[in-house]
Amino acid sequence: MSDPSSINGGTAVAMVGKDCIAIASDLRLGNQSLGLANNFEKVFQFGDKTFMALTGLASDVITLKETFRLKNNLYNLREEREIEPQTLANLVSSTLYEKRFGPYFIGPIVAGLDSKTSKPFICGFDLIGCIDFAKDFIVSGTATDQLYGMCESLYEPNLEPEDLFETISQALLNAVDRDALSGWGAVVYIVTKDKVVKRTLRTRQD
């Protein structure tokens, strides 16, 4: 609790399905146990099919969101193309490790589809940029333990987009309900080859 990355609360999760990915976060922003806002989205878009979720200290979440927006825009101008999820992952890693001895208190997740092959890609990071490549799911935030329990039991590979939506939503919802610092609404993005669907979920408000 007395750790900068659990002052504001918040949680995110990403999953791989059949030719699709899903990435979701809660909407709470708090100051310790006091809820401040219920519209604090933690999932950000970088190009058509590349997404990043940022949990942790809210000031660092915003700082890094803007840092990566800048870096992404520079990349787009220089390369005249959109950034691939793989590339963004390495960008995140080196950006975080640059601050090895004065880190940002965040736990990022990168998820997306490769623009050419449409192959799903997800990965997570610790606060100093160690990449966790996973084939199934990545979790982050104050409800990390709860999400590991949910995902490990609910997840199965090769879910269709609609089934993946139910699985990631149920995993997130039930996890945040057992975390005092997360909740207050949730958003889920389902990314397929030709469609990005964003859904706002109905959740408990306590």
């Binding site: 333990d145 709860q146 590991y148 329990g149 949910m150 490990e152 039991s153 609910l154 149920q170 919802l173 039930n174 996890a175 309900d177 057992r178 109905r202 959740t203």
Partner: protein, 242 residues
């Protein structure tokens, strides 16, 4: 104006001072879970006992049939857990001597355990305690406690190292939390129903195999105590040993 800031490296906090004090507690890991059904109750726990990064034992039972069709576990600091259960078993014997072999109801057992725990309010048993059995109507009952005796009767409860991993899963799969009837636009909750023993055993096995995947202190074996009106039955399933 001075634009640089003085270095604070010299005042860096290097480490906390070494405490020269006896520490009576340790953490022996492990996790337990109890679910109450319509006419049965189960209490399950892994059989691994750890300290730090080492495994003390791959089979150290921590759930016990304490008599009168009540099963009990006290997970956390193993020595306290064993002491608490020994004390309860012993007191149950005295209860029978004093009351002509009368059967102790789970309700009374639950209240008595509260007193055992609160009796050490200022030097607590470092455990999360669970008991399971059948209530006076023959329905499944699970009682759960905090370390100093605050308790509650519940449908299900996870305790110990991986409690935070298992509990939301139980909310979702036993009490159908966050689930709605499809086509009702999220207006109608999925109706509650009692789970069969087979369904409960499936949930327990999957809860533990999942916890084993993600928690280093959970593994080796799963022991499930099942209480029905026929009595207490034990089942054992292996878990991953890494």
């Amino acid at each position: 104006m001075n634009s640089t800031v003085a270095s604070e490296y010299s005042s860096e906090v290097h480490s906390t001072p070494i405490e020269h004090r006896f520490n009576p507690y340790s953490d022996n890991g492990g996790t337990v879970l109890g679910i109450a059904g319509e006419d049965f109750a189960v209490l399950a726990g892994d059989t691994r006992q750890v300290v730090g990064y080492s495994i003390n034992s791959r089979y150290e039972p921590k759930i016990f049939n304490v008599g009168d069709d009540i099963v009990m576990t006290a997970n956390g600091f193993a020595a306290d857990g064993a002491a608490l259960i020994d004390k309860f078993k012993n007191q149950l014997k005295w209860y029978k001597f004093d009351h002509n072999g009368k059967k102790l109801s789970i309700k009374s057992a639950a209240r008595y355990i509260q007193h055992l725990l609160y009796g050490k309010r200022f030097f607590p048993y470092y455990v999360s305690t669970l008991i399971a059995g059948l209530d006076e109507e023959g329905k499944g009952a699970v009682y759960s406690y905090d370390p100093v005796g605050s308790y509650e009767k519940e449908q299900c409860r996870a305790g110990g190292a991986a409690a935070s991993l298992i509990m939301p899963f139980l909310d979702n799969q036993v009490n159908f939390k966050n689930q709605y009837v499809p086509g009702t636009d999220g207006k109608e909750k999925r109706p509650l129903r009692y789970l069969s023993l087979d369904e409960v055993l499936q949930l327990v096995k999957d809860a533990f195999s999942s916890a084993t995947e993600r928690h280093i202190q959970v593994g080796d074996g799963l022991e499930i105590f099942i209480v029905t009106k026929e009595g207490v039955r034990v089942e054992y399933y292996p878990l991953k040993r890494d």
